[in-house]
Symmetry: C2
Subunit: 428 residues, 2 copies
């Protein structure tokens, strides 16, 4: 079977995500046969370095031997069981470990399956917390250029026009505050304060992507904003929801991005890397105070009844535990520091290029903002040129970025940077 | 490790789905150590027949040897790859097979991960179809007592107060039509016609759970309603979305419930059983006409950009293919017929009991509606009594129901029915 045969079969039926399907008339869809470590390999035998961790999910490489071993063991024991009224060891272990890894105020955990659902759970819980206390607060604040997912609640608190605008008529309206990635930190904080003041008593929560607004184009801001936002939320008595779905599990250099601000959110949403890129799983961590607002006699009707069928999926929890094993056993966060420095050093030279606006980095995420070219989709040009050299990148518009799995060697990091540098400096 | 030890560890941190956590003070949470076939086994060595397929997901038993084999093979090859710009054989095979199994007009497929997301995709696509043609239709119609999921779009078209009412202030408002499970078919059709007429030009789609409104208490209605609804939707030019997340994959006796009406929906949402109860995966199937409304030059801005990270997850697709293999190789739909008849015969005697309102059945789903008892949570009583006899059921309020995996033997079906009969006839 060849690439073109499988592509033809695929395009008869499959509508791919985040795609204008007509683009596949000119840009071949690539059927991947296998993956190992940093590489994915197609049906024609070409290998590509997966420089964006297969959409920000992979951490320790494809078909990881240790994770595979754990999956094989788990399916022999228990693949899944209903999580209402029942539990299982992989979930209990995972809960305990995540709570030990995250800020101390986060003592409780709710399981779901995908990232959007985690956001919806946090939003619903924040709303219901106040509702349970007789206080109806219908509004949420999020940041301009934020992205929190695809379901209609998650979209409502998003501000990435590309994904959202067309649906505005079927979304609830929420409040957007200026983003510290787009204006100065002082201005962003002032704006947030103004909005909290204007809507006093009607806001249940503020939701942010800490440090990096990924989908908007890897827009970055400083931890000091989060610290100041935490204070504001306390002052106004509203919850702070940290959406670390993309940035959690070491992407920003620390295990979780919030650590860099030295604060705890009230809700922490995790997904993507949680299973090392193997399968869907998401969790929401929160405080005892929040938990207690739902804890009462059944007849009081204050339960939080959210329930996805695969909530707490046993297999996914076992995989997540394997991922945490690797973090511990291989001292990943510490080891990444050298790679982070390496990326920083090696990407400096992009700054000298005329068509480069900025090189920015937070931990293992590095973005190179290029000039926007009118009537040219340079993201596709870069994608295609890089593929020829065995490098897979997927720029967001004019933002070329790297988010490699942590298994990348220094040689692989260097190749990723050199190949794309050559393209940006000579082909655009 | 014992049940009580693990339960204690669990309750320190985990907020379970669809649970008032305080209930676990009196009703023990059960830690499951392993599962095999029809049974799940706890840490104290007790075994339970899983009579509700672990929340309607399991089809061929726990830790199924064939599915396990396929998972082990797949992780060695490729666990997951980004599904934008790339594809893989398990997804292409699954797409082809699902399209062959579903009504002919459904020729295209979009992958997601959980059921709620599939519903949101269908709603968003239906809305955007018209929007892409310059027609803004902001309304959706669903049925009274419907349940379509937990995210805010899926909740908005749901009508199960228990899960929804508390969130009304943060949901968009949608239109509810009378349910054929609650009023006569004629009355339901008349009401739907009236609503379609009143909101002419403003409705993009009607969404239903074909044949069984599961979460509302296994409320059932006839295929003839679906046939008439299909006609109405055509007459008014609105899409029909069939939510077969719970009822698909043989639950109602046919592979898909819509078959019994001899019609095709415009959108078909599938999840739960699609992976035989192993892990999250969902898909939305739709027509070429719908696909074509999004197919154009990128700059026209009509793409459908929805994108969950684990969309088209390779491992889950491989599992779904294994599930379809079992359906084919073991001739499951045909073989289930005898089990369906067996359940029908054996549950007849419930009808003679004074506290039984009705016994109803569609295929492998059988519900026994009991009298409601004021100030008694008989669902919990039945659950606990049955557990003592090694039977796991989870009545919805006063609705005792069975939705066993297809691997149940006749002896196991009989035990399930006999044990619960004894409880209903002597303990309530």
């Amino acid at each position: 079977m060849t690439n073109s045969e499988l592509m033809k079969e695929d395009l008869k039926h499959i509508f791919h995500p985040c795609s204008q399907m007509k683009d596949y008339e000119t840009i071949p869809l690539i059927p991947i046969k296998s993956g190992k470590g940093a590489y994915i390999k197609d049906f024609d035998g070409n290998e590509y370095l997966d420089c964006i961790s297969s959409w920000w999910v992979n951490l320790f490489g494809h078909s990881n031997d240790y994770i595979n071993k754990k999956i094989k063991e788990q399916v022999e024991e228990l693949e899944h069981v209903i999580f209402a009224g029942f539990t299982h060891k992989p979930a209990v272990d995972l809960a305990k470990r995540l709570i030990a890894l995250t800020p101390e105020p986060l003592q409780k955990i709710f399981f779901a399956d995908n990232g959007s659902s985690a956001i919806e759970i946090a939003l619903k819980m924040a709303f219901q917390y106040f509702k349970n206390k007789g206080d109806t607060r219908t509004q949420f604040i999020s940041l301009q250029s934020s992205y929190h997912g695809e379901t209609m609640g998650a979209l409502a608190v998003s501000d990435t026009g590309l994904y959202k605008d067309i649906y505005n008529d079927i979304l609830i309206q929420t409040i957007k505050a200026k983003s510290p990635a787009l204006v100065s930190e002082d201005e962003a904080i002032e704006d947030m304060k103004k909005l909290l003041e204007e809507n006093k008593g009607n806001i249940s929560s503020v939701v942010i992507e800490p440090l990096i607004q990924c989908a908007a184009g890897m827009l970055m801001y400083d931890a000091s904003y989060i610290k100041r936002l935490r204070k504001l939320c306390d002052e106004y008595g509203v919850f702070l929801i940290a959406d670390e779905i993309a940035v959690g599990f070491g992407r920003t250099g620390t295990m979780f991005a919030c650590e860099q601000a030295g604060i705890s959110p009230d809700f922490l949403c995790l997904s993507k890397g949680i299973t090392g890129g193997y399968m869907p799983l998401s969790v929401v961590l929160f405080t005892d105070d929040i938990y207690n607002a739902f804890y009462c006699d059944y007849n009081e009707g204050k339960s939080f009844l959210d329930s996805h069928s695969y909530t707490g999926n046993t297999l996914a929890c076992a995989v997540a535990n394997a991922v945490l094993d690797i973090f511990e056993n291989e001292n990943i966060i510490e080891k990444n520091k050298e790679k982070i420095e390496f990326i920083k050093e090696k990407t400096k030279k992009f700054e000298t290029l005329e068509n480069v606006v900025e090189v920015r980095q937070r931990g293992m995420v590095c973005a190179i903002e290029l000039n926007a070219y009118e009537n040219r989709r340079i993201n596709l040009e870069i994608f295609q040129e890089a593929l020829k050299e065995g490098i897979y990148v997927r720029p967001l518009g004019n933002i070329l970025y790297f988010m490699p799995p942590y298994c990348f060697t220094f040689e692989q990091l260097e190749k990723m940077i050199e190949v794309t540098y050559k393209i940006v400096s000579t082909k655009l």
